[in-house]
Amino acid sequence: MNDILEVRNVTKRFGMGGVFGRNHITAVNDVSFTIEAEKPEIFTIVGESGSGKTTLARMILRLETPSEGEILFHGTRVDLRASRAERLKFMHEVQPVFQNPFEAFNPLKEVDRYLISTARTFLKLTKQSDIEQAMDDALQKVGLSYAEVKGRFAHELSGGQLQRVSIARALICNPTLLIADEPVSMVDASLRMAIVNLLKSLRDDFGVSVIYITHDLATAYYIADRIIIMQKGDVVEMGPARAVLDNPEHPYARLLKESVLSIDDAGYGDLDPATELMDQINKDRTGRTKMVTRDDGRLVRVAE
């Protein structure tokens, strides 16, 4: 097998205490995709709020078990109750970047603890100088240095710096896959591009694949190789990012693109919802649907 990750027909249902009747809610419905080892890529997941993006990421990270289907990692099944050694082996290859950089570090402890622990546990380094070297290498990749971070507390660093430290920490164990759940939504516009560019250079220069979850289609367009668009737990369109975003086919994907606000409209307030598209989406959702492949390699959900 030369797939890093294979998500095979994964479904996740949560039982909810009588919210929508006594029903279960399907947070993720029958999602499949693979990420190949040979070509590192940025794989973007966009979609509705509550469409199951975070749930999917959590399942890949083993923080949640799929209700159906399986997630294979290098061809083997990811088991939530594996031994600690197994879990460490997994974390060595798959690392998360969290949404809120201010929450990702213990406010009472130095930031570099996380880096040291990562170097120690995953690289099995024991000598202080080796550990520092490993940390410095990783921090250099994100445009920081160990000297800047050493002994500092989270509140002494800015949001953007923290987010970069957080990425550097993940990089220490040379993961093959990075899972970033909305890594830029908390940082302001001026830092957003810096982090996005960093993700891009991870792929190009260090061969790391990234699963990038976001609401920001502009940055997705800018860095993503492939994109999946989710709606209410379903994948509605999936394929090469620029092709899909330049010319989305599924009504929901079109709606997403339509809805991106532009500063060109400054002062004119283009806020009319695309009612036609919405009607069509609601109509489509009632019938049975299936995924079909298009010539340019994209998969689109259409009515059966």
């Binding site: 969290f98 990702a104 570090f105 402890k109 996380y114 622990s117 546990t121 995953f122 957080s166």
Partner: protein, 285 residues
């Protein structure tokens, strides 16, 4: 830490009074190391002397100098309270953090035990131990027993904090940084529960010393070891109030009230200090 204490003393009157009261008691207890008499010896001075320049606290009907005798008593009692506090803190931290962080069946199991210990009637158990152990029930053994009974409420408190910490993002971050569960619990989470540990330690000392005094007064401990409880026991035994040797009762009672008041004031000012808002401000740095 030192700075915090210094600030507390300067700005928090309760804390200052508490520290002063406790310092007096502790210094008094430490004086026992310079005692000219051993605490077991009786009839070493003239009995029943009221407080005077020679015998500051008077002497009792057993011919002991109350000043020195009480300093031994307070040393033992404070040592007892401290041992109970430290041991029961260790248990409650371990149980609370384990239950809170690991959750699942560990949590259910530990909380089941916890509830049993909450439900146990403490006083009858202690009396039972006295009748089983009799003169083997020295201060340290009693402290061990009390420690085993004095953790469940605080463990629950710590658990609730730990549950909150478990779902914080930095905990998940720590997991993915390869930190072991014990490291996460005792290095990442422990600092958050330390303020609680300190303040409950004070309350715990009041509780255990109170029990010790009660048991001692009733004679359910080894009465040959001088403690505050046994001092009062002997005084009662010799009908101190009736014979007019009032100092034998009034002085230890005053001192123990000072101790309680001091601990109580410390606990209160600590509580203020760990109030989440002021703590958040401190963390926000």
């Amino acid at each position: 830490m030192f700075k915090v204490v210094a600030d507390l003393i300067r700005y928090n009157i309760e804390f200052t009074i508490g520290v002063i009261l406790l310092t007096i008691v502790i210094v008094f207890a430490l004086l026992s190391f310079f005692s000219p008499y051993s605490p077991e010896m009786i009839y070493v001075v003239i009995p029943d002397q009221p407080p005077s320049a020679q015998y500051w606290f008077g002497t009792n009907s057993r011919g002991q100098d109350l000043f020195w005798n009480l300093s031994f008593a307070f040393r033992n009692t404070l040592f007892f309270g401290l041992t109970v506090a430290v041991l029961s803190r260790i248990i409650s931290i371990t149980v609370g953090l384990l239950a809170g962080y690991l959750g699942g069946w560990v949590d259910r199991g530990l909380m089941f035990f916890n509830d049993i210990f909450v439900a146990i009637p403490i006083f009858p158990i202690l009396i039972l131990f006295y009748f089983v152990l009799r003169s083997d029930l020295d201060t340290f053994r009693l402290a061990l027993i009390m420690a085993c009974l004095g953790w469940p409420f605080d463990a629950r408190l710590i658990r609730s904090v730990a549950i909150g910490l478990r779902s914080r993002e930095f905990t998940r971050h720590a997991v993915f940084a390869g930190m072991s569960p014990s490291r996460i619990m005792f290095q990442e989470h422990l600092p958050y529960v330390m303020p609680i540990v300190f303040s409950t330690a004070m309350a715990n000392m009041i509780w255990s010393i109170g029990f010790e005094v009660t048991l001692g007064v009733l004679g359910f401990t080894n009465i040959n070891i001088p403690t505050v409880g046994t001092t009062i026991y002997w005084a009662n035994n010799h009908s101190a109030m009736v014979v007019g040797t009032w100092w034998w009762i009034i002085i230890p009672v005053t001192l123990i009230v000072m101790t309680f008041l001091g601990l109580f004031l410390l606990a209160i000012s600590m509580n203020e200090y760990i109030d989440p808002r002021s703590r958040l401000r401190r963390m926000g740095g």
